[in-house]
């Protein structure tokens, strides 16, 4: 019996639903949780909502195969019941992949996430060309990109932030840093490659995994 439990849910965000904004996903999960009548903690106040949090929301249009959602539970509950309950209430493209029930921690349930994997399908490019460009990129000492954030503009070296990069059958596999001071964005890697190859038409972009410190 876990005293203060939460459900750590892995879900996909694929197909047309990759165009759902983060708030829409939140609203959809809140309503799905209510319909499934799961024993969830609700906020206090006049319009209570389920205690839900999501790891690193995806940009609009990017698919996710193993996205993470944490649902605070009012009581310990079977993971299988959570999975089945939610699966009935969510469309396939927002479907539940797996669920665990864990003790709640003080910090954010996603504070330990350090890296994310991405797969980018590139159109109109010979696989060999892509492979060569990746090899050339990895051979460089510095990988400087220009990043504009809300508050400032800066030049950054992505060398240490790109954990893995390889070409597979015309697709690009990337494992990139995720924490604030280690962040690399997939489109930044594509921009680096474009310096060599010219603009890269991306057919699709998918986040395939999120990794905890301990898992790598």
């Amino acid at each position: 019996m876990i005293e203060r439990a939460y459900a750590r849910v892995v879900f996909r965000k694929t197909g047309l639903l990759r165009f759902l904004g983060h708030l829409d996903v939140l609203r959809t999960f809140d309503r799905a949780v209510r319909r499934a009548k799961l024993p969830v903690e609700y906020s206090q106040g006049f319009s209570p909502h389920a205690h839900l949090s999501f790891a690193m929301p995806l940009p609009l249009g990017v698919s996710g195969e193993r996205e993470l959602c944490a649902i605070d539970l009012a009581t310990d509950w079977q993971p299988i019941a959570i999975m089945k309950g939610l699966a009935r209430q969510l469309p396939y493209d927002l479907g539940i992949v797996e669920a665990q029930v864990l003790p709640r921690v003080k910090r954010s349930p996603f504070a330990d996430l350090v890296a994310a994997d991405y797969r980018a399908e590139i159109a109109d490019l010979e696989p060999q060309q892509l492979q060569d460009a990746v090899a050339a990129l990895l051979g460089r000492d510095e990988l400087i990109i220009h990043r504009t954030t809300k508050s400032r503009e800066l030049d950054l070296d992505l060398r240490g932030r790109i954990k893995e990069l390889r070409a597979e059958d015309g697709a690009l596999f990337m494992r990139l840093g995720l924490t604030d001071d280690d962040l690399a964005k997939p489109e930044e890697v594509l921009r680096l490659l474009a310096q060599d190859l010219g603009p890269l038409p991306v057919r699709s972009m998918t986040r395939t995994a999120l990794w905890d410190q301990g898992e790598l």
């Binding site: 904004g21 609203r27 309503r31 799905a32 949780v33 209510r34 319909r35 319009s47």
Partner: protein
């Protein structure tokens, strides 16, 4: 999937792509191969508006419950999506199966608002459906209209193959069955239409206006299906909550109000049924709010019992209850108090007119004492925010009547300060000033509409007085929009060219303030030699025929005329629910009228 992939291409380029995805919870995806008739239920405004419309949710459920029919939805895309679609030459498709609307058997459009007429044309055009009904090819959909504006659809009659007059719940099933039968019998477009025209309440404009079409309405609301599993949007919509229709119709008889005339007789659902429906909606949607739908909530017979019963069921499930319209009396405050035990959001009252004489003339049976008592009860119960609805430009209105609006509001402000005392710091009175628009099938259908200048002067008069007070906020509606809405509301068939010209000149989403294109309307009218503003202020003699004389909502023209005379005499007609039958004409059509008569 070729069509789908080009559809997906434009999604990254538009705002809120969630509007165009489909796949919502409770949406119904039937295999087109397994049905005999495909119905595209469309709304000539954006997704956020159309998805909030309860009537569409009801029809969607009813059509999809028919084993041989499939209903899919479409809304007017936002302007950025229109551009993206035109660039790629993409036709407007249904949300469910992404089928071009031109491939459906029926394309249904609900006409909730006259200012949506150009959006109707825009939607048909985006769907690549021929605009004029008489030019449509044999394989094009039958374009069908319904909703309140179908009570005078003449300005857009040229663009529709048929209309349903009145409530759609029963007639839509008759239409589907008649269509399936006519098709099976090998009928062509004209033959199918002729068959459909035999159904009571169906109006086929191409067959002329000699025959009077009697509206359809359900006799018993209790047994009429409700949308208990409505489609749940991903994105936020205007009415993002469950809706429970407690009663239909209103017999208060406000003389400007079209809904109060055309939705007669009054029908109710039982407390048991409504409680059950509310729970079903919560179960099927996960909404955290349920709103009662009614033209007049407090008039529901067992409203206190209903609200208590609903609260009992909903509160433990963290679902709140909302009330839309309130009467201007202290009973309504008591009711609101029961509904909003925690959060005191604003309370709304609609005295409509400032002076007693004018309130009597419009048959708004409310006195200044009623309003002051209601306001006092609200302040005493902790409300600090009131909203007051008024209307200017009413027939017979004088400058003194307009001034009386300001005086009445100042009276409420003084009362608020007095009751709230030290706590009056957060006191706010929002005053909304609408413009009167003469609507068909109302006693004021013959009224002369104010000019834009007159409406503006009256708005300024109220603003001038109330603008002094920090705690009063005045909002007014566009006088230009009111005038165009008034013209379209009473227009005849000859208006089709003008509506089409306005659409072609870029008028779309005309009900949106920031999108309304008054210069376009002036220009296209001028081009066709029509003095729009002169037409807008012309007189309507009561003996002249009206463009909607062939469409009957059950309320007799003679009654409307009598009511107009009563208005001129500033005399009230009591509500027939508590008083004698006022002889509106529904008695012969509605058994409940006769029953009430017998029991009283």
């Amino acid at each position: 999937m070729g069509c789908n992939s080009s559809f997906e291409q434009f999604l990254p380029q538009v705002q809120t792509p969630a509007r165009y995805l489909g796949l919502e919870h409770n949406s119904v995806q039937k295999d087109p191969q397994t049905v005999s008739v495909r119905f595209a239920l469309c709304y000539p405004d954006m997704y956020e508006i159309g998805m909030s419309h309860m009537g569409s949710q009801i029809l969607y459920a009813i059509i999809n419950a028919h084993p041989q029919a499939a209903c899919e939805r479409a809304y007017h895309p936002a302007l950025d999506a229109v551009t993206a679609m035109r660039e790629r030459d993409l036709p407007l498709t249904s949300l469910e199966s992404k089928t071009p609307l031109s491939e459906f058997d029926f394309v249904g459009l609900t006409l909730q608002h006259e200012l949506n007429y150009t959006s109707v044309l825009s939607l048909l055009d985006l769907a690549k459906i021929t605009l004029r009904a008489d030019q449509r090819g044999p394989h094009e959909p039958l374009v069908i209209g319904g909703g309140p504006c179908a009570y005078n659809p003449e300005p857009v009659a040229a663009f529709f193959d048929l209309f349903v007059i009145g409530e759609g719940e029963e007639v839509v099933l008759e239409l589907l069955d008649a269509f399936i039968a006519a098709k099976a019998a090998g009928g062509d477009r004209a033959q199918v239409l002729a068959k459909l025209a035999e159904i009571e309440g169906v109006y086929v404009p191409s067959l002329g206006t000699e025959r009077v079409i009697q509206k359809r309405f359900v006799q018993d609301l209790e047994t009429t299906p409700a949308a208990t599993a409505p489609v749940v949007p991903f994105c936020q919509i205007v009415h993002d909550r469950g809706q429970v229709e407690i009663n239909r119709g209103c017999t208060r008889g406000c003389r400007f109000c079209q809904a109060g005339m055309v939705y007669r007789p009054v029908r109710e659902r039982s407390v048991e049924t409504l409680t059950q429906q509310a729970v079903q909606i919560v179960d099927s949607t996960g909404y955290d709010e349920i709103s009662l739908v009614s033209l007049n909530c407090p008039d529901y017979s067992n409203i206190i019992t209903l609200v208590d019963r609903l609260n009992e069921q909903l509160a433990p499930r963290r679902v709140s209850l909302g009330l839309p319209s309130l009467r201007t009396d202290s009973f309504s405050v008591e009711l609101a108090e029961r509904v909003q035990r925690v959060k005191k959001t604003g309370l709304t009252f609609a005295p409509e007119a400032g002076s007693q004489a004018l309130r009597d003339a419009i048959n708004k049976g409310v006195s200044e004492d009623d309003l002051m008592n209601a306001a006092r009860a609200a302040f005493e119960n902790g409300w600090q925010r009131l909203k007051l609805y008024f209307m200017i430009g009413l027939p017979g209105e004088t400058e003194a009547d307009v001034r009386a609006i300001a005086e009445l509001v100042e009276g409420v402000l003084r009362l608020g300060r007095e009751v709230l005392g030290k706590a009056s710091g957060r006191l706010t009175i929002n005053v909304s000033i609408a413009s009167f628009i003469p609507k068909p099938h109302t006693p004021f259908q013959w009224a002369q509409q104010n000019t834009i200048e007159e409406l503006r002067e009256k708005q300024e008069l109220v603003r001038g007085v109330l603008g002094r007070h920090r705690q009063i906020k005045v909002s007014t509606h566009s006088a230009e929009q009111a005038v165009i809405e008034g013209l379209l509301a009473r227009g005849g068939r000859e208006w089709a060219d003008l509506v089409e010209a306005a659409y072609r000149a870029g008028a779309v989403f005309e009900s949106w303030n920031d999108n309304f294109s008054f210069p376009v309307w002036l220009q296209v009218a001028q081009d066709s030699g029509l003095d729009l503003l002169a037409e807008a202020r012309r007189e309507w003699p009561t003996e002249a025929p009206l463009p909607w004389d062939h469409l009957s909502c059950g309320v007799a023209k003679s009654f409307l005329l009598r009511e107009l005379q009563q208005a001129e005499a500033q005399s009230c007609t009591p509500d027939c629910r508590w008083d004698a039958c006022s002889g509106c004409g529904m008695r012969g059509l509605a058994p409940q009228c006769a029953q009430r008569e017998a029991s009283s």
